[in-house]
C-alpha cells in the first residue's frame, strides 16, 4: 500500500479542526466555571546496566531521563487532558523520544461520554498479555519496560444502568514503536555486524482505508462483569517480518527488513468474577488475519488474583497468576516455524506470575515472571522500592531472561541487566 498524502492530510486536518474546537469549548467551560484544573508532573531517572557484552552495542549502560507533564481542565460535563512524554537517553539516541502520550477533549452527558483526540483506551481484564486490548500503542524499544501511548481516536460510550456500549473509531493508523536498529539490544533484527535498511512499503497508508473501529458491549450482572468485543483493525506489531539480502556494504551484507502489518478481524470476550476473597478473570480473542498463511488464531488468558491485606504483621501481598494460550487453527504454526521468532506470537502456552509485597508504606518488593511452557523460555523481573516520602520513590531491580535461540526470551538472553532509578511525583 502506498500512502495517499493528500487524503492523509485531509483526514488529519478534519480531525484536528474538530478536536481544536471541542478542546476550546471544554477549556473555556472549565476555566469559566473554575471547577477543577490540575497540573502534575512525573520525573524519572533510570540507570540500566546490561551484564554481558555484545559487539553490536554502543554501550553497556543506559542513562535515561523521562518527564511526564500533565494538564487537566475539568468541570461537571467537559474536560481537556494533555500529557506529554519526553525521554532522553544519554547513551543511545535511538531511545530518546518526545511526544504526547495523550491529548484529548471529553464531554459527559447523562448517558453518553464522548472523547476525541490522542487517548489510551483500555479494553479487557487480563494483565500483561491482553488479547482484546487493541486501541493503544506501545513503545517496544525496551520490551521489558514498554511504554503505553495513546492513539488518535473518537470514542463514544453509552451507559444504561449496569450495561454499556463502547464505540471507537481510529481514522489513522500507527504501528507500535519497535526498533530495527541493531545497536538497540531490544531490536527485532539480528544483532550482528551487518547493515540493515528498512522497507516501509507494506506499512498501511495514512488514509481512511487504514482506519480502524471497534465495538464493545459490557455488562455487570449477578456479581459478574463480562463483555463482547469486535475490532476491525490492523496488526500494530508486524504480522510478520520479511528479510532479504539486497547487496554488500563495506564487505558486509546489506539486509532489507520488510515489516508487514495486515488487516485483522478480532472477535473477543472477557469476564471477571469474585468468589469470596479470590478474583477470577478470563479474556479470549479469535483473530482472522488477511494473510492466509498465519490465520486464523485464538488467544486465551485465564487469571486468578488475591490481595492479602494482612498477610503477615502489617505486610500486604498481592498475587496474580495467569495461564495464556496462543494457538493457530490454520497453517500459522508452520509459517511461524519457517520464519523464526514472530513478535506477534511469542509463545503457544505460558504462565505468568505477579507478586507485589508491601512491607510498609516505605518498602515494597515486586516480582514478575513469565515461563514459556512449550519451549522453556523464561523471564524474571524484580524490583525493590524505597519510598522515603509520598512523592519520592527510589528503586533497584534486575531482569533475567533465558531460553533457547528459537524462543522470544532466548533471543534476548544476553540482555540480563541491573537497574536503579528514582521517581518524583510533583
Amino acid at each position: 500500500m502506498i500512502p495517499k498524502k493528500k487524503e492523509a492530510i485531509s483526514i488529519y486536518f478534519i480531525c484536528i479542526s474538530v478536536y481544536i474546537i471541542l478542546s476550546a469549548v471544554t477549556i473555556h467551560a472549565g476555566v469559566a466555571k473554575g471547577n477543577f484544573y490540575d497540573f502534575s508532573a512525573k520525573v524519572k531517572y533510570d540507570f540500566i546496566n546490561f551484564y554481558q557484552d555484545n559487539l553490536s552495542r554502543d554501550s553497556l549502560q543506559w542513562n535515561e531521563l523521562s518527564v511526564y507533564p500533565k494538564l487537566q481542565l475539568m468541570n461537571k460535563n467537559a474536560g481537556f487532558t494533555a500529557e506529554g512524554f519526553l525521554r532522553k537517553n544519554f547513551n543511545y539516541e535511538g531511545r530518546s523520544l518526545y511526544t504526547m502520550k495523550e491529548t484529548y477533549a471529553n464531554l459527559s452527558l447523562e448517558h453518553i461520554e464522548l472523547k476525541l483526540g490522542k487517548q489510551i483506551i483500555n479494553w479487557g481484564v487480563a494483565d500483561e498479555i491482553k488479547p482484546t486490548d487493541y486501541f493503544k500503542r506501545y513503545d517496544y524499544t525496551d520490551i521489558l519496560r514498554k511504554e503505553e501511548e495513546g492513539i488518535f481516536a473518537f470514542r463514544a460510550t453509552y451507559q444504561l444502568g449496569r450495561a454499556n456500549i463502547d464505540f471507537v473509531w481510529a481514522p489513522v493508523f500507527d504501528t507500535d514503536r519497535i526498533s530495527y536498529d541493531h545497536k538497540n539490544p531490544w531490536a527485532v533484527v539480528p544483532r550482528q555486524e551487518i547493515s540493515f535498511t528498512l522497507n516501509n512499503e507494506h506499512k498501511p497508508a495514512m488514509n481512511l482505508e487504514a482506519s480502524q473501529f471497534g465495538l464493545r458491549a459490557g455488562f455487570e450482572q449477578s456479581g459478574i462483569d463480562y463483555s463482547f468485543t469486535y475490532i476491525y483493525g490492523i496488526d500494530r506489531l508486524p504480522t510478520f517480518i520479511d528479510t532479504q539480502t539486497v547487496g554488500i556494504v563495506e564487505g558486509k551484507p546489506l539486509v532489507e527488513v520488510i515489516p508487514f502489518h495486515e488487516r485483522i478481524h478480532l472477535f473477543g470476550a472477557d469476564w471477571n468474577k469474585s468468589f469470596s476473597t479470590w478474583n477470577f478473570k478470563g479474556e479470549a480473542a479469535y483473530v482472522i488475519t488477511e494473510h492466509p498463511e498465519i490465520s486464523p488464531y485464538f488467544r486465551v488468558v485465564l487469571g486468578i488474583d488475591r490481595n492479602f491485606s494482612r498477610f503477615w504483621s502489617n505486610t500486604e501481598l498481592y498475587v496474580l497468576a495467569q495461564y495464556a494460550i496462543d494457538k493457530f487453527t490454520g497453517k500459522g504454526e508452520e509459517f511461524v516455524k519457517k520464519n523464526g521468532v514472530n513478535f506477534n506470537h511469542l509463545f503457544r502456552q505460558a504462565v505468568t506470575l505477579n507478586f507485589d509485597m508491601k512491607v510498609s508504606e516505605t518498602y515494597s518488593l515486586h516480582i514478575k515472571g513469565i515461563l514459556d511452557l512449550e519451549k522453556g523460555g523464561r523471564l524474571v523481573q524484580s524490583e525493590f522500592r524505597w519510598k522515603p516520602r509520598d512523592s519520592v520513590v527510589a528503586y533497584i531491580g534486575a531482569d533475567y531472561l533465558d531460553g533457547r535461540d528459537e524462543t522470544y526470551f532466548g533471543l534476548f538472553r544476553n540482555n540480563d541487566r541491573f537497574l536503579a532509578g528514582v521517581r518524583l511525583d510533583l
Binding site: N35, F36, S40, K42, M74, K76, S108, E110, E113, I120, I121, N122, V125, E148, T157, Q159, R162, N164, E220, G223, D225, N272, K273, S274, F275, S276, T277, W278, N279, K281, R306, N307, S309, R310, S313, N314, E316, S360, E361, T362, D390, S391, V393, D425, L426
Partner: protein, 263 residues
C-alpha cells in the same frame, strides 16, 4: 432412695438470674441498635483527611472524598476518591453492598486507565491500606452478634455503657478478623465513644477512639476517629471536614463511569 429436691429459693434465684441476663442482653442489643440507627444517614458526601502513622512515627497523609447512599433498607453503596498524594490521585474504590454478604467492589487506578473488579467478600481485610477493616466501615448488623452489657463506666466525662459483642452469624464468624469487640456507648446521644477489638486468639488487636462530636441534620457525627493497631504499632487518623448529610446524591455517582471521573 429419697427424691433429690432443689430448694424453691434456688429455682427462684436462678430464674431471676436468667431473667436478668436475658433482660440485660435485650437491653444491650437495643442500645447498640439505637447507636447504629442514629448514625445511619440516607446519604453522605464528606471530605476526608487520612493520616497513617507507621511504627517509626512517620506520617503519611492522604486526602479524598467519600460518598455514601442507601441502596435499600439493608444495604448501602459507597465511593471513595483520592485527591492526594499524587501517586494515588484520582484513584478510587466503589463498593455496592448486597444482602448475600458478597459485595461488589471495583478499584480504579488511573495509571492503568481501567477499573478492576476486586474481591469484596472478606470483611476482615484492610480498607484502602488503613487500619480500618472493611467490617469497621460498613454498618454493624446487630443481629449477627451476641451483645451483652458488661458494665457502666464514665469515659472522658461521659456516662457510658460498656457492651461486648461476639460474632455469632456463621458468615461473620468465618470472615471477621475479630473474636470479640467491646464498645463504649453514650446511651444519651446514641453514639459510640470508642471500641476495643480482639483477634481470633483473644488478644487485643486494635483500639478505636472517637472525638469531636457534632450534630448535623439530626445525626451525631464524630469529626475525628483514631484507629490504633496495637499489634503492629500502626495508627490511622480520619478527620472529616466539609460534609453534606442527607442531601440527594444521584445514583449515577455509584457507577463505574463515575468511579473513573474523580472530582
Amino acid at each position: 432412695m429419697g427424691k433429690f429436691k432443689i430448694p424453691t429459693w434456688i429455682i427462684v434465684f436462678l430464674a431471676l438470674l436468667n431473667g436478668y441476663s436475658f433482660a440485660s442482653e435485650t437491653s444491650a442489643v437495643e442500645i447498640m441498635r439505637s447507636v447504629v440507627d442514629q448514625r445511619r444517614t440516607n446519604s453522605e458526601k464528606v471530605d476526608i483527611v487520612m493520616t497513617l502513622i507507621d511504627n517509626q512515627g512517620k506520617k503519611w497523609i492522604r486526602t479524598g472524598r467519600f460518598y455514601m447512599a442507601r441502596k435499600d433498607s439493608e444495604n448501602d453503596v459507597r465511593l471513595f476518591h483520592f485527591f492526594t498524594p499524587p501517586e494515588l490521585a484520582k484513584s478510587g474504590i466503589l463498593t455496592i453492598e448486597n444482602s448475600s454478604g458478597v459485595h461488589d467492589q471495583w478499584l480504579y487506578l488511573p495509571a492503568y486507565h481501567t477499573t478492576r473488579r476486586i474481591a469484596g467478600g472478606n470483611r476482615g481485610e484492610k480498607y484502602m491500606g488503613t487500619d480500618f477493616f472493611y467490617e469497621d466501615i460498613i454498618r454493624i448488623r446487630v443481629d449477627e452478634y451476641k451483645i451483652i452489657e458488661l458494665r457502666k463506666e464514665v469515659k472522658d466525662g461521659i456516662n457510658s455503657v460498656v457492651l461486648e459483642g461476639i460474632p455469632v452469624a456463621d458468615r461473620l464468624k468465618e470472615e471477621s478478623a475479630y473474636s470479640k469487640i467491646i464498645w463504649w456507648v453514650d446511651p444519651q446521644k446514641k453514639t459510640m465513644l470508642g471500641a476495643k477489638y480482639f483477634d481470633k486468639k483473644g488478644n487485643v488487636l486494635k483500639l478505636l477512639e472517637n472525638s469531636d462530636l457534632e450534630f448535623v441534620k439530626g445525626h451525631y457525627i464524630w469529626k475525628k476517629q483514631l484507629m490504633f493497631d496495637v499489634q503492629n504499632n500502626h495508627k490511622t487518623i480520619l478527620e472529616f471536614g466539609k460534609k453534606e448529610i442527607d442531601e440527594p446524591i444521584s445514583p449515577d455517582m455509584f457507577t463505574l463511569r463515575y468511579l473513573k471521573r474523580a472530582q
